[in-house]
């Protein structure tokens, strides 16, 4: 497909201004963030869904913030085809049933496009409803295969299998290790999904998985056993397809027990350097396959990060980047499809579906992203390594 525009780059400059006034009135992260209806009242209503309370709140809050930031920027730059965006975000507490409630709430509000949901499992439940309504859905971070199983749904992030396979491939091709241990969250869809495909990919690459130990959401403070097993099995590399909260504990405990293998993770690990007060020395040499790194030197990332920090105080993680991209992708596809505020959700969906496969977007999480009709993005994963407390592209 041909390139619609260069949304993120276009707005990178205006991002700073946005950040400047965003800091003033948006610090509280108010829902009404992007409520700036045009004079004629023509707005495109975009809904967002994700957990902003409960154990997974950290992901939902990042998405909510970044999406609001993007919506504001887009509106300041004139909106989509002249229509401004009205963005509303609803909490799903990382629960499928609540996600459906959130979806219905947004529908009652008049949502035309859905940017969500943040986590995989609720996403799988919601896609069922959006498909029935023929409503365009773009999830920033729902990574399970079935989260976008219908033709109205697309995603920004990689799918779990993709990440698992890519990680195995990367480790194999760069001969990082032959003996690998895995520590994963067996109660989490994302983590166990990646693990499965990683295991399959490892076989192909001739990598030996010497230990694969799980933990669960209910026992995620102590990882001494998993580490001990990896150590005893002589693992050279420990693969961590998990989120950074647990990873930060794993790094600390490995350090305490004097175990120093290579640590390799996926996008969930991104954000670890941003943990307030975290001793980044522990994360030295950690590698991760992620489309986004907040410390990247490029201008796009830099301006996004500073705008985000100014508005919400805190470094954005990869979820935020996905969400920010998602809004610009919607803009790009919307412009390509020529959607207008008075179109029905279903008409918008039909137009967007086609447009998605025709656009190319340069975003924070990938250059030249394109989509296939099955909703999967095509973009190159970046491998980064933490060196001197900062991400360094490999």
């Amino acid at each position: 497909g041909n390139s619609a525009s260069q949304p993120a780059a276009d707005n990178a400059s205006s991002g700073d201004e946005a950040a400047a006034d965003a800091a003033g009135d948006e610090a509280a992260g108010d829902d009404a963030a992007a409520e700036a209806p045009a004079a004629d009242g023509a707005v495109i209503k975009i809904g967002g869904i994700g957990p902003v309370t409960g154990g997974a709140a950290v992901y939902g809050q990042a998405v909510k913030n970044a999406a609001e930031l993007a919506a504001k920027e887009i509106n300041e730059a004139g909106g989509i085809n002249g229509a401004l965006i009205e963005f509303q975000f609803q909490d799903d507490e990382h629960d499928a049933e609540k996600a459906v409630n959130a979806y219905n709430t947004l529908k009652d509000w008049g949502m035309q496009i859905l940017m969500g949901t943040v986590t995989s499992n609720p996403c799988t439940a919601v896609v069922e409803k959006s498909q029935a309504d023929n409503l365009f859905q773009l999830t920033p971070s729902g990574s399970a295969i079935k989260s976008i199983q219908y033709d109205n749904a697309f995603r920004v992030c990689f799918s779990d299998p993709n990440q698992g396979a890519a990680s195995a491939q990367y480790i194999g091709e760069h001969s990082l290790a032959t003996k690998v241990a895995v520590i994963y969250d067996s109660s989490d869809v994302y983590s166990s999904g990646i693990y499965e495909k990683f295991a399959a990919g490892a076989k192909e690459q001739g990598i030996e998985i010497v230990s694969a130990e799980a933990f669960t959401a209910d026992s995620n403070t102590d990882f001494s056993v998993q580490l001990q097993k990896a150590k005893d099995a002589g693992a050279e590399l420990v693969f961590l397809p998990i989120y950074y909260t647990e990873a930060s504990l794993i790094l600390k405990q490995a350090d305490t027990m004097g175990f120093d293998p290579l640590f390799f993770g996926c996008d969930g690990l991104d954000g670890i350097l941003a943990v307030e007060n975290f001793d980044t020395a522990l994360a030295e040499e950690v590698m991760l396959l992620t489309p986004f790194a907040a410390d990247a030197e490029d201008e796009k990332t830099q301006s996004f990060v500073s705008a985000y920090e100014a508005a919400y105080g805190g470094t954005p993680n990869q979820f935020a980047a996905d969400a920010y991209d998602a809004m610009y992708i919607i803009k790009a596809a919307g412009e390509k499809a020529g959607i207008t505020a008075d179109m029905s959700a279903s008409d918008i969906c039909e137009a967007m579906k086609t447009a998605m496969t025709e656009i190319t977007v340069d975003g924070l999480t990938g250059e030249g992203m394109t989509w296939t009709a099955d909703g999967e993005p095509s973009k190159a994963p970046k491998a980064v390594k933490i060196v001197d407390g900062a991400y360094k592209a490999m």
């Binding site: 975000f89 629960d95 049933e97 709430t105 499992n121 079935k146 969250d185 109660s187 499965e196």
Partner: protein
């Protein structure tokens, strides 16, 4: 005298019918609103979950209010009902007609949960008070944990089973994973409807209310009030405790079936099947008045709707919810508030009078 007794029997029959009537009237009103398009998507989507929680609350009230034992593992039974029935529905998705399939799924969910109720009841019911509570909590967590490491797949060679991961199922490429560990079951047919939900509520009510006012129910409440005295008049403690526990479990299983066939994805997360959910159901029961079935229904509905209605408050939503919960508890249970209410309000709103069914 006989006349007076008849009156008392009629009184509880009448009371039961008020409860049934309440449910039916609400159902009729909602149907009317649905037909005229006055129901928002949110409310429309909440109808089946509301039925699920009402059944859960009523069934837990049987254990907590009537049997008098604190159970913190009710969500575990719901989980068993949900997974067993969803598995059945997945397997027979293409072979059985929808109605029959769902009916069988209901029976299977109820039976499986009831069976677990009995299995768990054997050790649990030997304990008392808070020890019983903690063991039910433990069982609930065990069920949730085990469901998360359950893998069942099917290919042309038949069924495969593993407790490790999907890879260990060793299936051929076109094999389909039916239960995929933490990813659970995806693609369960959406068979649950509001009508079915309401019918199941009514069935639950009939079972629970009629049980309470029968010979067996009296035995169960006698055990609750004084175990030693109940033994001394020849009531079989184990049998009746087990009966109440198993019925309560299998009704929770029914709620699980309803839940599983409402969403297309079913996973056992702490949020939906962990102790948090068990406690949530307990909150319905206690807020509505322990032993007060009608109160359970009302508080399940109110507390399920409340967080949804508070969505407009965005970030403050759950905070306000917590404050409202605490306030309602104080208002409903504190002796001072009750006294004040009795004086000021003509009649209790709900749940004021406890242990009355």
């Amino acid at each position: 005298m006989v006349i007076k007794m008849k009156k008392s029997m009629n009184k509880n029959t009448k009371n039961n019918f008020i409860t049934y009537g309440m449910v039916i009237i609400v159902f009729a009103i909602v149907q009317l609103l649905l037909a005229t398009g006055h129901v928002s998507s949110l409310m429309g989507g909440l109808l089946v979950p509301l039925c699920t929680y009402v059944i859960l609350a009523v069934s837990l009230n049987l254990t907590v209010g009537i049997l008098g034992e604190l159970s913190l593992g009710h969500a575990g039974f719901m989980c068993v009902g949900a997974f067993s029935s969803a598995f059945f529905s997945m397997v027979t998705k293409n072979t059985l007609p929808g109605g029959l399939r769902f009916f069988l799924a209901l029976l299977i969910g109820a039976a499986a949960a009831g069976l677990f109720g009995i299995l768990i009841g054997i050790p649990v019911l030997r304990l008392n008070g808070d020890y019983l509570a903690i063991v039910t909590l433990a069982f609930g967590e065990i069920i949730k944990n085990l469901v998360n490491v359950f893998f069942i797949g099917k290919d042309e060679n038949g069924y495969h089973f593993s407790m490790k991961d999907a890879i260990s199922l060793d299936m051929t490429v076109d094999g389909e994973t039916i239960i995929n560990g933490p990813q659970g079951i995806t693609g369960t047919p959406n068979d649950s409807t509001f009508l079915i939900g309401v019918v199941l509520i009514l069935i639950t009510l009939v079972v629970v209310l009629n049980l309470i006012h029968s010979r067996d129910g009296r035995a169960i409440m006698a055990i609750r009030d004084n175990r030693i005295a109940a033994e001394s008049i020849g009531i079989n403690i184990t049998k009746y405790k087990m009966m109440a526990f198993a019925i309560s479990a299998s009704l929770a299983g029914v709620a699980g079936v309803l839940y599983a066939h409402n969403l297309s994805t079913l996973t056992a997360l702490p949020k939906n099947f962990g102790y948090n959910m068990s406690i949530m159901i307990l909150v319905f029961v206690v807020l509505g008045g322990i032993g007060n079935i009608r109160g359970s229904i009302i508080s399940a509905v109110v507390l399920t709707l409340l967080p949804e209605l508070l969505r407009g408050l965005s970030d403050y939503r759950m905070l306000i919810y917590a404050v409202v919960l605490i306030t309602m508890m104080l208002f409903n249970w504190s002796p001072k508030a009750i006294e004040w209410r009795e004086r000021v309000l003509p009649k209790n709103l709900f749940g004021g009078k406890t242990k009355e069914v």
